[in-house]
Symmetry: C2
Subunit: 151 residues, 2 copies
Amino acid sequence: MHRDSEFDPQDFLPYLLNQAAETLSLEFQRHYRGQYGMLRTEWRVLFHLGCYGEMTAKDICVRARLHKTKVSRAVAALQTRRFLTRRELERDRRHAVLQLTALGQKVFADLSRAAHAFDLKARAAMTPDEAEILHRCLIRIAGFETAQRTG
Amino acid sequence: MHRDSEFDPQDFLPYLLNQAAETLSLEFQRHYRGQYGMLRTEWRVLFHLGCYGEMTAKDICVRARLHKTKVSRAVAALQTRRFLTRRELERDRRHAVLQLTALGQKVFADLSRAAHAFDLKARAAMTPDEAEILHRCLIRIAGFETAQRTG
DNA sequence: GCTTGTTAGTTACATTCACAACCAATAGTT
DNA sequence: AACTATTGGTTGTGAATGTAACTAACAAGC
């Protein structure tokens, strides 16, 4: 029935990673999408602003590895919802520093809590050793090694 | 400068998984996209047909966890490129069994080889133990545990 | 036969995305 | 000052996606 199996899709790392990522992402979606009607990119931008404090759109592009158009649109959406404000710099009016409003911070706090709980639940399916190795491998694959942490 | 760090995006499993998956997927894209102008979904459909032999669109939906509309469109695209043929069943004309053409099989063989090499290269960045644990964890997260293997 | 329900697959439409072109502000060169 | 390059960010357009509505084939009950 089937060809000599060169190898199984499940053994192909990009495929397996995508399935795993999709599974968790779809599950967590219900928090930011269901509760706040946010898109994935918007949640990411909010998440980064909440975690790292105020920064420019460009900073978010680099940190979150998002294309500037996606960030631009996500920021616009978050702004109309009063989740963040933009403040232009006088020394260089091309930059606009983004900052969560009180409302945005409340939403971030809520989602951050949910995210943390979600993370713990996910890790509960493995031993601490496994969780640590998984984390290490993913960091390496994503290329987060030395970069990112320094900001 | 930044808020009390509840936790870092890099510690949030869905995010980290997505970044890792995106990194590898984008890298491998150049094979099926660069060489054959295929889309991700098309590559997946081809991959599944090549690995498991002829099957219906529905089967692919279940195995590859793709929505039927995506499969429908991918199949149409692969068909116009003469990568596969569809054969209706007389006993139930709703079903159409899909099957790679000789050309499709050649493309599959090529991409399959590339995929295997890619996979080896990716795993070379870890120890065998790490690779095995990573695989195990991802299978578990993706929910491939008992399902999928049985066909 | 005729209705109702289910399943395999396609089509239509509205949203989202990728990519390129664009604009405005700054920096560098002459 | 004028000319070009670069950078931060936005906008416009076609391609890709998600969701729902749809068609066609079968199945079951009457």
